[in-house]
Symmetry: C2
Subunit: 76 residues, 2 copies
């Protein structure tokens, strides 16, 4: 079973990587992009018995820095 | 309008970051995780007029290295 974990910066946290991507998109001549935020994607292949609570524990202990980041779990 | 772009390593490309995360999860005592792949998540806030074709062009030109990476576009 595949699980996707999205780790994103919390609102209000400066995102220099996202800003750099935004500038690069504009410099390429693309219009209509208002904002860019960069984050991480972690794909886990887990046994069906693994619960969302266990995944959330992995996220808070390892994958995300809860001071500045949020995470979201999506079963694929 | 929010768009999520997932950039992941192609199958067969070594993923040391994912392997390190996998080891760390096992060292924390979690069981049932068979594989971990690390990727990038880029969230774009775009005008509704922006098409998926334009986003795909941004991906191939800027966000993904098509030699070793795939991308996926998801409208949120």
């Amino acid at each position: 079973m595949n699980i996707r974990v999205f780790v994103t910066l919390k609102n209000g946290v400066l995102d220099p990587q996202g800003r750099a991507i935004h500038h690069a998109i504009e410099n390429l001549g693309f219009e209509g992009v208002n904002d860019v935020r960069a984050g991480r994607l972690i794909e886990l292949d887990v046994d069906p018995a693994v619960t969302d609570e266990q995944i959330a524990e992995i996220c808070t202990k390892l994958l995300a820095n809860m001071v500045i980041e949020n995470f979201e779990i999506q079963r694929v």
